[in-house]
Symmetry: C2
Subunit: 320 residues, 2 copies
């Protein structure tokens, strides 16, 4: 049984576990675990790890359209190095501050490898019941054919970082750490609350996210490949001239494929993917600090999930 | 650096991390991680593991005097066995139900050993600020000399379970699982809110808890050894006749020492330790479903932490 099947099983038992976060009495809560081996490539600083791990949970709060309130973390390692713990906490504190939340501590545990479990909570100011579909909450299941498919930010950032970590030079690793420290889209999620009809964060990549949204909303999606905003770092790591900028005139179709692969299939970008009724698009776009780009349309379910008319494979990053 | 020093370091950075749980805008939040190797002896069922892990976080909510609202868990293992996950979730759901909270799901992760990270949240109905010392919250730092030192429930339950897991027979293991599934003292914590001047849960054992409370409140404690309620299972595992009941007439002083060792130093009983002004004692005792027993007095700090007048060593279970 793979993780997705197992999660589906949990979702069957617990209807509220199928979304990015659970909602109880107007409080949103979400939890994640990350490991050194699978989530933090060699070269990842503890500061970056603290930022990214807590950021991943804050991103789930953002995907619900909630205000992020607070986060906690368990820090587990073979030994407790005070400097490493200080760095991790500093990263956790800073990512919380970046989205107006508060890092309020956690727990330490001895473990065979560096592992962190993070939990974030958020509030839904307009909600007075615990219904997951109550006002203010944006679930994954409300998309309708004819609406615009939109994304925040730029894509492929984490994929580029992974390539730079592999490269291993001091400069590459430093840049990779910068790229790994994403800003959770809490402000954008708030702006989209009440406007977006379905939303999730892209922790498993755009392709997989679209398939998950399609299943939850019982719709299809038509993605316009050229409309997807690709992070500039992707161009630095793609193709034979990787490390140098690739001029548009030199563009090789294979490089275009690789570019799309990194932007749409690798994942872990923690951007928001959402559906918005056309008439609301202009207004909400201006309210999103990370930018909101229309990358396609919601279709009927039997149209499936396509990119430029061809089936988009349900393939992406699977958590270690 | 051991865990306590490291936790102290986190507490210095983050003043709110020194208590059993953090408080933000009237919401209490706490997180823990448990591992198969250190926390779940061979024979522990996944149902018991789910109950106990989520229960440990609910116990921290109880120690703040808060109402428990919800819990989440990350379930990490080498493989995802559907039956094991179902059992774990059933245990988590049941322990939440036992204290009026809701288990709202979590996350799955592949890991080198069975590991679970749990988070519980609670609410403080009377609190309208985020001050950790606000009305309704019971911190560790409010004890004053002259007050009564009290505990809920019966002690040594988990220590007895550990011995029974070691014994390894089917009957012993079944009983050990029962003993491992404690009821978090949420109802008692609520009753003590506004009455107890300092409170914590006993996850590190009574002796260590008393030293921690003494340090936080800048007081001493005089524990009356015979007043400590010892769980009946302790008598089943102590001394040469372990497995049979030990009659009071046969009592051997060495067995008495072992009895106290299991009840006061092993820990993981998840009972509440608190200080209560004498005039309030009678009234609050009746409101505690687990029972509230006076086991000593709060002294001046320079009297230290003693049992029957002798120094009580700051020794107990240290989380693996």
């Amino acid at each position: 049984m793979n993780e997705r099947d197992a999660l589906r099983r949990l979702a069957v038992d617990l209807p509220r576990a199928g979304d990015d976060a659970a909602v109880v009495d107007g409080t949103v809560i979400t939890t994640d675990m990350l490991h050194e081996r699978t989530d933090f490539p060699p070269g990842t600083t503890r500061y970056t790890a603290g930022w990214r791990a807590v950021g991943a949970s804050l991103s789930d709060v953002a995907a619900m359209g909630a205000e992020a309130t607070a986060a906690v973390a368990v820090y587990a390692d073979e030994t407790f190095d005070p400097d490493a713990i200080d760095e991790f906490v500093a990263g956790a504190v800073d990512v919380c501050a970046a989205v107006g939340a508060e890092y309020v501590g956690g727990d330490l545990d001895e473990h065979v490898e560096f592992t962190t479990a993070t939990t974030a909570i958020g509030s839904l100011p307009d909600v007075d019941s615990d219904a997951a579909a109550g006002p203010g909450v944006v679930s994954r299941s409300g998309a309708s054919p004819g609406e615009a498919l939109c994304v925040t930010g730029e894509w492929g950032r984490s994929a580029a970082a992974l390539r730079l970590f592999e490269r291993g030079t001091e400069t590459a690793v430093e840049r990779a750490n910068d790229l790994f420290r994403f800003t959770p889209r809490v402000a954008d999620g708030r702006a989209l609350s009440g406007v977006a009809t379905a939303m999730m964060d892209s922790s498993d990549g755009l392709a997989r996210s679209l398939h998950q949204l399609a299943e939850a909303s019982e719709v299809g999606f038509g993605l316009d490949r050229d409309a997807l905003p690709v992070h500039p770092a992707v161009d630095d790591v793609v193709g034979p001239g990787s490390g140098d900028a690739v001029g548009e005139d030199d563009a090789d179709p294979a490089e275009g494929d690789e570019r799309f692969e990194l932007a749409a299939h690798v994942g872990e970008d923690f951007e928001l993917v959402c559906t918005v009724p056309e008439p609301a698009l202009e207004r909400v776009r201006e309210a999103c600090p990370a930018g909101l780009v229309r990358v396609g349309s919601v279709r009927e379910a039997d149209a499936g999930v396509t990119v430029d008319g061809e089936p988009l494979p349900d393939r992406g990053y699977t958590h270690g």
